[in-house]
């Protein structure tokens, strides 16, 4: 069994100390907010989708890559997800959260669906090499403007996650990025089910509480 990639939570050495984070991209003065862009998409304005794509395609693709570990599949899914965003925009409600949250939830679901389909195909007889060894890692791509916009937020969130014991990080990684159930995580890590549940609960609570503290700084 190839070793799973550790949830990449370590701090970047080139990024220093906590600063005030932004939970969305830093928007230039005069540029529309995410919510305004979502309203534009709901009005079927392609330019609004274009702008939202420019703002978040890197984050969404990183999420997809973290799940599927395949550049070509990630590109296909990225396109499908933004197409779905266009088609489903009328279902978005600001009362239920921010546009980025909605996009991430949608992207994660699609990526995990894609992963499960691929795993079912593999079980049917295909043998693939260790994906994590052959596929580029979303964490090592060159910096983009979008990345720079998000770097403060990323450092702070990674500090919160990195404060967790590795076993809690691993359990959360498998649940969130692999879509595994507690039982699947228990089997995958050869750990009692009750321990997995405790690790998930404690880890998620620490992250949640940490995010609340960050929110107070916003």
């Amino acid at each position: 069994m190839p070793r799973r990639p550790k949830i990449p939570l370590e701090s970047d050495p080139e990024e220093s100390g906590p600063r005030m984070p932004a939970t969305t991209a830093q928007i230039e003065p005069g540029e529309p907010t995410d919510l305004e862009l979502m309203h534009g998409i709901q009005q079927e304005d392609p330019e609004a989708l274009s702008k939202l794509y420019d703002r978040y395609n890197g984050i969404i693709k990183a999420l997809i890559l973290r799940v599927v570990h395949n550049e070509a599949e990630a590109d296909d899914l990225l396109q499908e997800i933004f197409m779905e965003l266009w088609n489903q925009a009328k279902n978005f409600s600001a009362d239920k959260g921010k546009p980025l949250g909605w996009m991430v939830t949608l992207a994660r679901r699609r990526a995990i669906d894609g992963l499960r389909k691929k795993q079912a195909y593999m079980r049917a007889g295909e043998r693939l090499q260790n994906e994590t060894e052959q596929q580029p890692d979303a964490w090592v791509h060159n910096a983009t403007e979008e990345e720079i916009n998000f770097s403060d937020t990323r450092v702070l969130i990674r500090q919160v996650i990195a404060s967790l014991p590795p076993a809690q990080q691993e359990a959360i990684d498998l649940a969130f990025f692999r879509g595994m159930s507690q039982r699947e995580i228990a089997a995958e890590t050869n750990t009692p089910l009750g321990t997995v549940k405790t690790r998930l609960e404690l880890g998620l609570k620490k992250i949640y509480d940490g995010l609340k503290e960050l929110k107070d700084e916003l």
Binding site: P8, L9, E44, P46, L49, S50, Y53, N57, G58, I59, I60, K61, A62, L63, L65, R66, A74, D75, L78, Q79, F82, M83, G97, K98, L100, G101, V104, T105, A107, R108, A138, W139, H141, T144, E146, E147, F150, T153, R154, I157, R158, V160, I161, I172, A175, F176, F177, G179, M180, S181, Q182, R183, I185, L200, E201, L204, K205, I207, Y208, L211
Partner: protein
């Protein structure tokens, strides 16, 4: 189920990690706690954003965006005909 326990379950719920038996209990508690529960669940979805934002953005090609925008414009034109 206490509200503290509900909060623990809610965090598992938003990442899809509740087991079947837990899901049933969770839904009962969700109904019992009403709007307070819904507000907490909405807040828990911030975890999704946080996990995504913890990743280093990945690069995609300009061609991908061009294909997407072409599909969107064609879809829009098709609907207005």
């Amino acid at each position: 189920m206490s509200f503290d326990e509900f909060q623990n379950r809610a965090r598992l719920y938003v990442i899809g990690a509740l087991e079947n038996g837990e899901s049933r209990e969770f839904e009962e508690a969700r109904s019992h706690f009403g709007q307070e529960a819904e507000d907490f669940i909405t807040e828990c979805y911030r975890l999704h954003e946080a996990f995504a934002l913890s990743l280093r953005p990945a690069k995609s090609s300009d061609a991908l965006k061009e294909r997407l925008m072409k599909m969107v414009r064609e879809r829009k034109q098709g609907e207005t005909r």
